[in-house]
Each structure stands twice: as structure tokens, then as C-alpha cells.
């Protein structure tokens, strides 16, 4: 079974979002996403300082199988990117919610939680996909 931490928000595109101190958010892809992609071999990261719109392309993750876009769950500015993924993309496989984070952003607006999924909704969403 795929892990779905209780303290995160989720999207239908299988991204997760964590609200950190200071109004910053960390974004990555879910355990379900990494398992579906298979071994990751390359991650294309955005530029620091880049502004990205909600649902805009934020990163590209490439596995042995295919390339997949990662979309930003919010509008905001990229503060930092996980540079380690350039050399060790498989961190996303081994620790998707920890060392495998992808970007930290400063949101443009207050986070509208109604546009994101709770852990329970995301679990239900995955269950429905697998049926």
C-alpha cells in the first residue's frame, strides 16, 4: 500500500504540498506517483526565483519508463529546489515525502485548501483509480 502522510495536502496530479513555517510550502510527488513511475533517473528542476502559475509546469521527472510533468498545486515563486535530485533522482523513490522533495515556494496568495485534497480524499481518489 502507498503511504499517505496525514500532515500534507494532495492533488489529482499526485503532488503533495506541506505548509512550513513562515508561509513557505514544500512540494513533491506522492508515494503512489513514484511507484507508478518506477525508478527515477532524471529530474528537471525549475529556476530559483521563477514564478509559476497554479497548474503550471514546475518540474519534469523521468523514470526508466517515461517522462512526466510535475504541476504546481499553487501560484508562487520558487525559493529553493532540491539540487541533490540532479545527482540522486532515486531519492524520490526511496523517500518521496522527505529527502525526495522537489521545490520550496512562496505562495502568491493564501493557500485555498478547498482546491487541494485531504489525505482521506486522496486515499479515496487512488482507490477509485485502482478499481
Amino acid at each position: 500500500m502507498n503511504e499517505i502522510p496525514r500532515d500534507l495536502f494532495y492533488t489529482k496530479e499526485h503532488e503533495w504540498l506541506r505548509c512550513e513555517d513562515g508561509g513557505i510550502v514544500t512540494i513533491g510527488i506522492t508515494d503512489h506517483a513514484q511507484a507508478a513511475l518506477g525508478d527515477l533517473v532524471y529530474v528537471e528542476l525549475p529556476e530559483i526565483g521563477q514564478d509559476i502559475d497554479e497548474a503550471g509546469e514546475m518540474a519534469v521527472v523521468e523514470s526508466v519508463k517515461a517522462a512526466s510533468d510535475v504541476y504546481s498545486p499553487i501560484s508562487g515563486r520558487v525559493l529553493t529546489v532540491n539540487e541533490e535530485l540532479a545527482d540522486v533522482p532515486e531519492k524520490i523513490n526511496s523517500d518521496p515525502y522527505g529527502d525526495g522533495w522537489i521545490v520550496r515556494m512562496k505562495p502568491m496568495n493564501n493557500i485555498d485548501e478547498s482546491r487541494l485534497m485531504s489525505p482521506d480524499s486522496y486515499q479515496q481518489f487512488i482507490n477509485d483509480l485502482e478499481d
Binding site: G38, D39, V41, Y42, E44, E62, V64, A66, A67
Partner: protein, 365 residues
């Protein structure tokens, strides 16, 4: 729901991710495609290839028939058991399929063709066989297991009936023999040593379990693809199909031009292209930058023209991305590949990329 091999439940029990492949529900991987790949390069892996189509041909004129049906020449098969790789062409010289032909006895040959092309291959072969009085017998009751890797034969030999073990261990590369209920060939699709084992489906269950219990890694179609790509072995439907010539697919070495009297299907079309200055190249590419080459990406050769990647991916052995590509004629060894709007540098390298556990290309340079 697709067709299932006899080993389907074994794959499920082993936690396989199942995908559709040519109408078959097959394992893509059992957790990590990269680990499966490395297991084959360093130790041994086992693949369920029961979805592949086994066809036995028999008849007095079967040799003459094969000399007409395929582009390579079965006259090269002088010893019983010897295998030959070939393409089967249409009249325009396009590739209907690639296959392996095993010389069983004077009037008997075994073909192994691709799963996704089964229907059209059988229809084509049966149609051509009529005038040669050749009997075409599909052996879909047989399962097929490929065990591959430097330690594969050593780990698999105990699954073979005792009285046949010495003979099977003595098999040279690209030879086969019948050992009781099993047909064993020292062939494969990974660039490593190993065997392909054909047997009655029910017996495959036990052989599979035995191999797993001896530490042979179950491997899915994902690893099979990266292994064959590193070995620069063509994949039908990606590197060649009915719209392209084997001469533009890196398969020149499989065409038997001599004797010139031998009239195989597609020969006239090949002759026309053979000495054409416009004949496209089929090459190996090594990506110089980070990123991943993928099928159908555009290759730009500065001042010459454009081509396309036919199969690309990440090479676990090299740690970089590699590809096979069809490119315009010309004398050059650098090109660029368009990935998401950017042109990334690639170098043309002599294939195979990897063979018998060793990297064969110059990575620097």
C-alpha cells in the same frame, strides 16, 4: 483483460506491476527495473517470455521455403540445433517481423517470432507456405522462460533432466537442443550469456520456482528493454517495422546477398536501396548532457538534416542516456536531440553499448 501466460499468478505473487504488451498481461517489473537490469548484468535473471510465438515448420521443402521467406540464408545452418537471426520482409522490403530460426532436423525448423505480430506473421507464413507444402504448426501449448546473466547457466542447470545436463552445458552460443520435454537454446535478448527454455506450460511453473529459489531475479519487460537497448538489439515496432528497410535499421548484417540467384521476398527492393547514397544511417547515440533520450525525439544534424530516435532510454550500466536512431546519410559523429524545446548534444557511438557485463563504448570524448 489480456491473455495470460501460465506464469501470470507467479508474477502477481511476486508483486509485479502488470502492463498490457501486445494483448498480453505481462510483468513490467517486480519493484525495481534497475535492480533487475543489474541482476542480469552481474548474476542472473529470469524472464517469462511465454507470450512469444513459437512456430514449427515441417515438410520436404521447408529449407527452400525458408530461403524464400526470410532475408538471411538458412543455408548457413549446417549443424542440427544451430540458430539464425533474420528479418522477414514484405515485397517492398519492409520488415514484417524479426525472428530466430532453429534448425531442428532436415525437414523441421522452429521459428520464434514476436508476440505483438503473431496474427499477421502466422497469416503471412501460412500463405507463403502453401506452394511449398510446408506444415505450419503454432506451439501455443509451450511456455518459454529466458534465464540470462553470467551465472545463469550454472544456476539453471539443475532444472534440466540429469541425463541431459552435460550436453546442455556443452551447447555453444546460438545452438539449441532437445532435452526430454525441454527445448533449450543458448540464445537471448540481453547481451549476456544464458538460455531460453521452451517446455510444456505446466512444467514451467516448477522451473520458475526453482530458479527463484536459487536466487535468480525475476525480471520484467522493463529490464528486458533496457538490457536489449544496451546490447543494441533491435525492437520490432520501434526500431523497424513494415515502413522501413532493414538496411536503414542496422540490420545489414542479417541480409544474405549471396548466392545472387536466391530470390527471397523483398530482395529486389533491397537491391535498389543497397547502394543508394541517400540510404539513412542507423546508429547508437550517447547523450552528453543530463536528461533522457526517448523514442520519437527529433535528432538534428547541423547542416545535414533531421532524423529520429527509434528507441531511447536510460542505461543503468553506463549511468547515462543512450539511444538507437535513424539519421540522414552523411559523414558526421555529433548531433543534437530536441528535448522539450532544447537541443542537447549527443555523440554517435559504435554499438553495442554494453556486452557481457562490460561497457563497450568510449564514455569520454
Amino acid at each position: 483483460m489480456g491473455s495470460k501466460t501460465i506464469l501470470f499468478e507467479k508474477h502477481n505473487e511476486a508483486g509485479a506491476r502488470i502492463i498490457d504488451f501486445g494483448g498480453w498481461d505481462m510483468p513490467l517489473h517486480y519493484g525495481s527495473q534497475k535492480q533487475e537490469h543489474q541482476a542480469v548484468r552481474q548474476n542472473a535473471g529470469v524472464f517469462d517470455v511465454s507470450h512469444m510465438t513459437i512456430i514449427d515448420l515441417s515438410g520436404e521443402y521447408v529449407r527452400a521455403f525458408l530461403q524464400y521467406l526470410v532475408a538471411n540464408d538458412v543455408a548457413k545452418l549446417q549443424d542440427f540445433g544451430k540458430a539464425l537471426y533474420s528479418v522477414m520482409l514484405n515485397a517492398d522490403g519492409g520488415v514484417i517481423d524479426d525472428l530466430i530460426i532453429y534448425f531442428i532436423s532436415d525437414n523441421n525448423y522452429r521459428l520464434v517470432v514476436n508476440a505483438a505480430t503473431r496474427d499477421k506473421d502466422l497469416a503471412w507464413i501460412k500463405n507463403q507456405a502453401k506452394s511449398f507444402n510446408v506444415i505450419v504448426n503454432e506451439r501455443d501449448e509451450l511456455a518459454m522462460i529466458a534465464v540470462q546473466g553470467p551465472n545463469a547457466r550454472q544456476l539453471a542447470v539443475d532444472s534440466i533432466a540429469v541425463e541431459h545436463r552435460d550436453a546442455v552445458l556443452a551447447l555453444r552460443p546460438f545452438y539449441s537442443l532437445k532435452a526430454g520435454n525441454m527445448f533449450i537454446a543458448r540464445t537471448g535478448y540481453t547481451g549476456e550469456d544464458g538460455w531460453e527454455l521452451c517446455m510444456p506450460a505446466a512444467e514451467a511453473l516448477e522451473v520458475w520456482d526453482q530458479l527463484i529459489s536459487r536466487g535468480v531475479a525475476p525480471c520484467g519487460l522493463g529490464a528486458r528493454d533496457t538490457l536489449r537497448l544496451e546490447a543494441a538489439m533491435n525492437l520490432y515496432g520501434a526500431d523497424m517495422d513494415e515502413s522501413v528497410s532493414p538496411l536503414e535499421s542496422g540490420l545489414n548484417w542479417t541480409i544474405s546477398w549471396e548466392p545472387i540467384e536466391r530470390d527471397f521476398i523483398g530482395r529486389a527492393a533491397l537491391e535498389k536501396l543497397r547502394n543508394s547514397p541517400d540510404r539513412r544511417r542507423f546508429v547508437g547515440l550517447l547523450l552528453q548532457d543530463k536528461g533522457v533520450l526517448r523514442n520519437h525525439q527529433k535528432v538534428v544534424v547541423q547542416g545535414i538534416g533531421e532524423g529520429e530516435i527509434t528507441s531511447g532510454g536510460f542505461s543503468p550500466s553506463i549511468g547515462r542516456s543512450i539511444a538507437l536512431a535513424r539519421l540522414p546519410a552523411g559523414d558526421y559523429d555529433r548531433a543534437t536531440v530536441e528535448i522539450r524545446g532544447k537541443l542537447l548534444k549527443v555523440r554517435i557511438v559504435k554499438t553495442p553499448f554494453v556486452r557481457n557485463g562490460k561497457i563497450k563504448i568510449d564514455i569520454e570524448g
